[in-house]
Point group: C2
Chain length 596, copies 2
């Protein structure tokens, strides 16, 4: 199939949903200009469409290969990565001081979607590098920044996150990798990490590992974790590469999807110990790691959007070409299957999912931009809280929708969808990891419920719900007839979310088991409703353009209506399910007592 | 993992949900005895657990292999199949006249679940053979029956269904394979069929292909299709195998899942034509094929149940062993993840899905039994209509739940779920075909809406909805407090289904586009609600047993409650989405106009 980066849709969402032009015109410090930003995104789209997307099928069939500690990436990856880096794409969001472009988060999230839509397996390498740059930039000593940041931003070196160990997945309390202070002022690392994305590969000159480890005598639990930087090749003071460090890749995993992305077992300190430098303070590693993880969470949510878009494009192309049965339109021959209402339903659902999740990711990035560059302290704090609230929704809701869209994509293809050569199944396999890594989605539900609802005494979530009510009111007051029942459905969903939120907040003080039992459904309800509001906002923008004589964006109204009338009506039922609390789970031991 | 066939759960559902003991005691002709039937099912469970289930992982990693027209099945399949056939398992539902056991459909559906839970790739071979036996038995001339049925029922020969061609998937109007009358009274077939399950393999002495083809001068469309029998090896009058027929396997597909099951391209008539015999009358092939397809549809629904059960068992085992984080129960070390409410939610959802879908498949089989063996014509007709109504729900709802449960199973495993060695991903890959083959699920929605709702002037669907109301009333009147809000949620869901049904029936006369637009959601609503009623019925039976002093089945009440309070509350929202009709799809051309 022919995949094209959805540049115009992304630009429309940045304008109509996230309000980027207003942000750069008035609210963000910095000298940005919409046309320049738009041309950066368009050029990213061109590069991804032409240079990366064609590699994605082979990346799946050939995959990454391991031999004697070395990892060979799929055909074309190393070349494409070199050109990608040379074009400066590693520096979109990085500070200009170290060679980056220093562009807003909104532009970065747009590019992240573009790379991942072209090839999720390819894009994971820059995704991890970006996270490592973020953590270093925030917590690294000047000396580390000077030595590592420029080549990482230039894409000559890549970065990794080393958290997980066999006994420590989502629970970092259990991390055992140990660090020892050495006479030379550096440290030595000993331990094994698993699930390390691009822990070893042949695409860059050096690999910079950020590693969570424990110093001797450190407190138990996460408060005894420190973050270290351990490069694959040691770096001299002048930046030239020296000896190989005592870290190697022991094997790579055989996975359901993203075959092109090597998932490595990394072994630190088989001999004298992996030479490493502290990032930030001792025993404060978790804070630094959270900088990486938060950025990565939004990026992973964006992967959900990207894969849903790619699956949608492929299904749409198939549905236009494949002929089966007769449609209601009459005619003699077989009709393209897109003329069958159930196929329309699947494609519209996929498209609705893409645009809803994209809108939520854009809202999150807009909040991050305001949090960094807002004009007042109050504005920045409020925006930081909003970003914190939205991040788990952007991550978990978008990746769930990515899975659902990719599965619908298979279904649209019928029997051909199950055949690997078709490529639809690859999207489903690739997509499936996104709901798991960077915190399994259930953990983001808990994060939303326990840590984000109380932000600013509840004002953060209240403001976000009010924003949804405002969109519903705007549709009701100024939306045209093509919106159908959008305003009504959106108000009802907002009320359902409102009620569920109050119940959850009550439980936080008195009945945390009920809050935990409802957390995943609550996140779903929030995402579903917020996504509908994003679509409605885009629809209103389409109508406003039409009033000015440009009707090209009017179909966004119909998409908002479809979503509101066909997908959103389950919102009150989700709220009802949430408010039933933990009682329906209370007998779980008896219900799950035996496997038979 | 250790998989065990869920024999006791299956027996409980046959009793409590489908009422098999009452059926054999009073309503079915035939000399059946519950203890004998139960021991058949138990023995099937033992065989599947010990002999088939251990082959399932290797079947996935090694897969079926093709070379020069021959197909090698995975290690152990041929041996296990021989033992399976020798034990008589090919004859569970087959007529005693030809060596079968002639047991009720309910016993057969139980066994079908058992084989598929052990290995879906393995069980597909008998599943197709059973369909071929059914079509032959119903439509085949005596001479064909005498020559073919006994070895097929004995499992020495297997059967296939040859419908699909590259241009004819769900739409059989487009079938092009042609048949010619030959001087010897037989026919010759020429054409190519695709997606032929077990079209070629090394597990049996002969393969009996049932093939849809067109005779010269036959009418266009499906009314010009005839059904033929074409064996791999020609069969002499005394039953001995003769020359190889002019049919061969051209290749097998590389698929997302069920790697152990060869999916063949079959080429008929490269030389003198594949020698074939007519099954039924000329140009009446579709009716015969529907006999196979209807049986296969219930069997495929049962695959959904089976794979959900297997995924559930594996996730449960992992959740008990894997330790991460602390639970609300306190304690020092890490808790098994089953103590986390969100993991309980996932496991309870999986178990609820298994039992709901199993109940629906059992209700369908009970209707088939009454349709075949009811005492009165009226009873048989009513039951046949009920079976016709329930079959699309059993097929599509169960297979959708199979996918959802398998995906939840991956999620419970966290990162390990994405690693192929874990095996959780295999269930997700295997499961995915079931919503596609034997009619993609969207087609079953259409079948339910357009062809099944009008049955008996609407009385069939009305009776089924009344059955749900009756269960809700029984819970309300005699259920204990452990049912929580089950009665209320179930009544509301039944009302939602009732309302949506009336709207759909109205549309059938006036607005078929709206009926088509809502068909998939309507099927989902029906399945969700009917499944809740099945669980509630099982819960009531558990309470009745407890009143007699046996409390072992009481947890079924808590499962019914969980499903009713946590999963069922979206029912009114689904109904609301359905009644919005086709209007939200009307602008689909504009919305889907470009891929960008």
């Amino acid at each position: 199939m022919t995949y094209r980066s959805p540049v115009s849709d992304i630009l429309f969402s940045l304008k109509a949903v996230a309000g980027l032009p207003e942000l750069i015109a008035g609210k963000l410090d910095g000298d940005f200009d919409w046309d320049t930003l738009a041309s950066v995104i368009s050029e990213a789209g061109r590069f991804a469409t032409e240079e990366i997307a064609p590699l994605n099928r082979t990346a799946d069939t050939v995959g990454a290969a391991y031999e004697n500690g070395a990892v060979t990436t799929p055909p074309g990856f190393a070349d494409a990565y070199r050109r990608w880096a040379e074009a400066g794409w590693g520096g979109v969001s990085a500070p200009a001081e170290f060679g980056g472009m220093g562009l807003p988060h909104l532009v970065n999230v747009a590019c992240t979607e573009i790379w991942n839509g072209a090839s999720m397996a390819f894009a994971l390498c820059p995704l991890l590098t970006e996270g490592a740059i973020g953590a270093l930039k925030t917590y690294g000593a000047r000396e580390l920044l000077d030595r590592y940041l420029e080549p990482m931003i230039a894409g000559r070196w890549t970065g990794t996150m080393n958290l997980t160990e066999p006994q420590a997945g989502s629970d970092l309390n259990a991390v055992r990798t140990r660090a020892e202070r050495a006479d030379d002022g550096a440290y030595r690392l000993f331990g094994q990490k698993i699930f390390i994305t691009y822990g070893e590969h042949d695409m860059a000159e050096n690999i910079v590992h950020l590693v969570l480890a424990r110093l001797p005598g450190a407190p138990a639990g996460t408060r005894g974790l420190s973050l270290f930087l351990a490069p694959k090749f040691l770096v001299d003071a002048d930046g030239t590469l020296g000896a190989r460090n005592d870290v190697r890749c022991g094997s790579i995993e055989h996975k359901l999807g993203i075959h092109g992305s090597p998932t490595c077992v990394m072994i630190f300190g088989e001999n004298e110990g992996a030479k490493a430098w502290l990032v930030g303070e001792e025993n404060r590693g978790l804070a630094a790691m959270f900088v990486m993880m938060n950025a990565a969470r939004l990026a992973v949510g964006t992967q959900g959007v990207a894969i849903a878009e790619r699956a949608y494009q492929q299904a749409l192309e198939y549905a236009r070409e494949r002929r089966q049965g007769r449609s209601g339109k009459g005619g003699d021959g077989m009709a393209p299957i897109i003329e069958h209402p159930d196929v329309q339903r699947m494609l519209m659902t996929m498209k609705g999912y893409v645009h809803a999740a994209r809108g939520i990711c854009h809202l999150t990035a807009a909040a991050l931009d305001l949090a960094s560059h807002g004009r007042t302290e109050e504005e920045r704090t409020e925006a930081a809280n909003r970003a914190a609230l939205l991040t788990p929704i952007a991550k978990a809701f978008s990746t769930d929708l990515g899975d659902e869209a990719a599965s619908l994509g298979v279904q649209v293809h019928g029997g051909m969808g199950f055949i690997e050569q078709t490529g639809a199944a690859q999207h489903m396999r690739d997509s499936r990891i996104a709901a798991i890594y960077e915190g399994a989605n259930g953990i983001h539900g808990i994060d939303l419920a326990l840590r984000k609802l109380p932000l600013a005494g509840g004002a953060t979530v209240r403001n976000q719900i009010n924003w949804i009510y405002d969109v519903a009111r705007a549709v009701s007051e100024s939306g045209g007839g093509a919106f159908g029942a959008t305003a009504g459905r959106l108000s009802e969903a907002a009320e359902a979310l409102d009620g569920a939120t109050r119940e959850m907040q009550k439980w936080l003080a008195s009945d945390s088991e009920s809050a935990l039992a409802g957390a995943s459904s609550y996140l779903r309800l929030f995402g579903l409703t917020l996504g509908a509001a994003c679509l409605a906002k885009a629809g209103l923008a389409g109508e406003a353009l039409a009033a000015d004589g440009d009707a090209s964006e009017l179909p966004r109204v119909a998409l908002a209506r479809f979503y509101a009338e066909k997908l959103l009506p389950v919102a009150p039922g989700l709220a009802r399910s949430i408010v039933s609390g933990a009682a329906p789970l209370s007998a779980y031991e008896a219900v799950l007592a035996d496997a038979i």
